[in-house]
């Protein structure tokens, strides 16, 4: 069975149909890229899947159960982790406290009033930071980090509840090419090691074509293509959306935005 399946998912803002009857599914352990021009509705899709926005209509099946309209925290408890397009961490906390907070919430200890946080889940948090290569920064204030590092912390936070599905909205936005490849490689490794399914959006075609198991193309709120790198590269509709007619991905190679 698919980990996640969207059925005719729709959302409009005023007159704008941001997401229009979108259907697709993710299999266990799949590394699925969602691409599309700005304003295609990618973030809106993510926001509906993680519960931040209620869909107007359609179903979101997580392991066969409809989660459409549930609160973000309820969906998180069912094993969906998320990173944001604009990275969001707790700026008044240290790096490790950010991860500890997620672990505390995962183990249902949010309302504990007595034991100091400092000693709780520290080993596990260090372990998660190690996995994203941020162990050395554990006790630094998170607001001092470079943006790329904040994205890694977000990833460690998102992994805290051992999710079966990870949603990553533009995880590499604002990163240089090397850092970008590093992060995606890291995520890909996690997918393979832990069997997590990942849905991510990404502007760099190099990255998408190199790492994604499958690619979905969204334009104006609709899915216009769904397939592997080869299918997408050769798809006429996709080329039209991205470059207007006449150009191809081959010509664009290396000068991606």
């Amino acid at each position: 069975m698919s980990v996640l399946e969207l059925r005719k998912l729709s959302k409009a803002f005023g007159g704008v149909r941001a997401v229009n009857e979108v259907d697709f599914a993710i299999q266990p352990g799949e590394f699925l890229a969602m691409i599309g021009p700005n304003g295609a509705g990618k973030s809106t899709c993510f926001n509906m899947i993680n519960g931040q926005l209620p869909p107007d209509s359609g179903e979101i099946l997580l392991d066969g159960q409809n989660i459409a309209g549930l609160a973000p925290r309820a969906i998180w408890r069912r094993g969906v982790g998320r990173t944001f397009q604009v990275a969001a961490t707790f700026s008044s906390m240290t790096v490790i406290e950010n991860v500890q907070m997620a672990l505390l919430s995962h183990s249902g200890q949010t309302y504990k009033l007595w034991r100091p946080v400092a000693a709780m889940h520290r080993a596990r948090a260090l372990d998660l930071l190690g996995q994203v290569g941020m162990q050395d920064a554990a006790d630094r204030p998170s607001r001092e980090l470079a943006y790329g590092d904040v994205k890694r912390i977000e990833l460690a936070i998102a992994l805290a509840n051992e999710p079966k599905l990870l949603l990553m909205d533009e995880p590499t936005a604002g990163m240089g090419a090397r850092e970008r490849n590093g992060l995606i490689e890291l995520v890909k490794r996690l997918v393979v090691e832990r069997g997590i399914s990942v849905l991510f959006t990404e502007h760099s075609m190099d990255v998408v074509f190199a790492y994604a198991d499958r690619i979905i193309v969204l334009a104006r709120g609709r899915v216009i293509a769904d397939g592997n790198a080869g299918d997408i590269r050769d798809n006429a509709k996709v080329q039209e959306v991205y470059f207007g007619t006449g150009k191809t991905f081959a010509e664009q190679h290396g000068v991606t935005p």
Binding site: F90, S91, S92, M93, M101, Y111, K112, P116, V117
Partner: protein, 628 residues
């Protein structure tokens, strides 16, 4: 009640509604455009009544009365423009808390100014020339002036509505209200727009106050009552919506009129006087509206108004040096009773300081780490104080039980009010908490049979051995230390972290399973409960309490304490609370006009350190090459 009597009350309610509308509409307009909550709006209303009184009595006649009302509106409009130009223009970029504080400082200054010019007595103006009579409606006599009031509200609403829809100025106001970015794009026009809107809003408040001159006496307490009412109306009607303001004013006034109309009802087993519940009814209306529509009846959801928090350091356990300092201070305080022989007053001041520390620390708990700027923390202080005092008065319970019950009463109140408050954020939360505090104040004030009304509760003295000042001081010290350490403990525990998580990034917090509203609600309740300890101690320390215990002034004192000490450090409120209590005791009592003095001190602080006092010191520290 007969149907005609019912209709008559409804008609009467419309004249009250006009009054509420005038108070609220200017506040709403000003907020819509400038995003500043002008707490001094109630003061402008109050000044309106006083100025119109002077016109009506000094000049007199038709011209003095009616001409005076128009002149009053213009004068108050000019005062509004001056406030904008001289004060607010300098602090548009300051944290919103400072803006609120600045306008509150004006409340203090205006209040003492009115005291100085017009004296402390209530002043009732003459009846309106030309509208002295009454007409018969449904077999009852309705004063013509009330009818006039009932009509002028909707008339002004219509005029405003067309002015906003048809004129260039009106279009600018609407554009600015709807789209913040727009205002920046206005460039030079922005200054003019802001000043005019302030003048217009102020003039409307002045007009509203002036129109009351023939109906109600000018009174020095009007400013805070009016701002409390205005907040309720604006929250119910929706920020920035003038039609919403009128709609809300009508609903609230009608519900109040209905309560008065129903009057005393005998249910057989119990007799209820509904006219005592006008203020509670107001609260219920607001509660119902906020549940159904968090942004008011005609308001639109606003973007996050929570101010962008200054970057904050992670909290760290106390350093050895801080621990040492705490021990020294405690030892010093324990030694204070030894001085009691020669300087008995020192202990009284010591008790005041400790109670202030409880008050400030509990407020800081939700304001700093929780990011909830409560403008009504006095409510929980008052609930604690009254809870303890009334238990002694009616049930003659021993002091121990009364002081133990104080935080529970406050906790119950904070649970109730907090549930609503955490649904809002930023200035909305500030207004709502202030409105709640006003409601507690009014309930205590109105429910004379139970609370003693304005006389308060007297004879709440501690029994031996606590009647000795030094013993009571030691008890206060003990409870203060417990309260402060408890709050500190909570902050270092998962709950405190969850609270800060919800403040730092509600989005991220929800995305990792934290129920931010629930966490903040419980934090609000805890802060209220702890504050109640201070209230209970206060009641026995003074031996008597009055509604003044719950006044807006006390809520604001708390804000000043927290800001004085620094909102971003955990020791800040302890220092700020102590400092402020000592200041108030020594300096402020020197003059009858201490309110104005305090207001001026706040204004100077705000204008001198628009980035916040702590920010200023931190900057200084960095410049000197000190640590981070």
């Amino acid at each position: 009640m007969t149907f005609s009597a019912f209709l008559f009350q409804a008609l009467n309610g419309l004249s009250t509604a006009s009054g509420l509308f005038f108070i609220a509409v200017g506040l709403s307009l000003i907020f819509g455009v400038t995003r500043i909550i002008n707490i001094a709006h109630g003061s402008l209303y109050m000044l309106g009544t006083y100025i119109a009184y002077s016109f009506a009595t000094k000049i007199g006649g038709v011209f003095g009365f009616w001409g005076g009302i128009v002149a009053t509106a213009l004068i108050v409009g000019v005062i509004g423009a001056l406030i904008e130009i001289l004060l607010l223009r300098r602090i548009y970029r300051a944290p919103e808390l400072f803006q609120l504080l600045a306008t509150f400082a004006l409340v203090l200054v205006f209040n003492d100014m009115a005291l100085w010019i017009w004296g402390p007595e209530d002043l009732l103006g003459p009846r309106a020339p030309g509208l002295r009579g009454s007409i018969e409606v449904l077999g009852r006599r309705l004063p013509e002036y009330d009818l006039f009031l009932a009509l002028i509200g909707p008339a002004v609403l219509l005029i405003l509505h067309f002015a906003l829809a048809k004129t260039r100025f009106g279009r600018l106001i609407r554009a600015a209200t709807q789209d913040r970015e727009m205002v920046g794009a206005l460039g030079v026009n922005q200054a003019i727009l802001f000043t005019s809107v302030f003048a217009l809003g102020a003039a409307l408040a002045g007009l509203g106050g002036a129109l009351q001159v023939a109906r109600e006496p000018a009174n020095l307490a009007t400013d805070l009552v009016a701002i409390g009412d205005a907040f309720v109306v604006v929250v119910v009607g929706g920020m920035g919506s003038i039609s919403g303001a009128y709609l809300a004013a009508v609903i609230i006034a009608e519900v109040k009129a209905l309560c008065i109309g129903i009057g005393v009802v005998d249910f057989g087993f119990i007799t209820v006087n509904f006219s005592k519940f006008t203020l509670v009814a107001e609260f219920l209306v607001m509660a119902a509206v906020l549940i159904a529509r968090p942004y008011g009846l005609l308001g639109k959801p606003q973007g996050a108004v929570r101010s962008i928090a200054e970057p904050e350091e992670p909290i760290r356990p106390a350093t050895p040096m801080l621990k040492m300092l705490a021990v020294i201070v405690l030892a010093g305080l324990m030694g204070l009773p030894l001085l009691a022989q020669t300087q008995p007053y020192l202990l009284i001041l010591g008790i005041d300081v400790l109670i202030a520390v409880i008050f400030a620390t509990s407020l800081h708990f939700i304001m700093g780490p929780g990011g909830m700027h409560s403008f009504g923390h006095a409510a929980y202080f008052g609930l604690g104080a009254y809870g303890a005092a009334l238990l002694v008065k009616w049930l003659a319970v021993p002091m121990g039980i009364a002081i133990a019950a104080a935080p529970l009463v406050a906790l119950a109140g904070a649970l109730l009010f907090g549930w609503f408050a955490v649904r809002l954020s930023g200035v909305y939360l500030a207004m709502l908490t202030l409105a709640f505090a006003q409601i507690v104040w009014a309930a205590v004030f109105q429910w004379e049979g139970f609370t003693g009304g304005s006389n308060g509760v007297i004879g709440v003295w501690p029994p031996p051995p606590f009647d000795k000042a030094w013993v009571y001081f030691v008890l206060t010290l003990l409870l203060t230390v417990i309260a402060v350490l408890l709050l500190r403990r909570f902050l270092f525990a998962p709950f405190g972290y969850a609270m800060r998580a919800g403040r730092d990034s509600p989005l991220r917090a929800e995305a990792i399973g934290i129920d931010v509203k629930r966490v903040h609600w419980l934090a609000f309740a805890i802060a209220g409960g702890i504050c109640g300890i201070g209230g209970g101690l206060f009641a026995f320390a003074k031996g008597s309490i009055s509604p003044e215990t719950i006044s807006v002034g006390r809520s604001i004192d708390g804000l000043v304490m927290v800001l004085l000490g620094g909102i971003q450090t955990l020791t800040g409120p302890i220092v700020g609370g102590s400092l402020y209590a000592i200041l108030q005791d020594t300096v402020m009592r020197q003059t009858e006009y201490w309110r104005a003095l305090l207001g001026i001190i706040i204004l100077v602080l705000v204008l001198a350190f628009p980035q916040g006092i702590v920010g200023a010191f931190a900057a200084l520290w960095r410049k000197r090459g000190g640590g981070p």
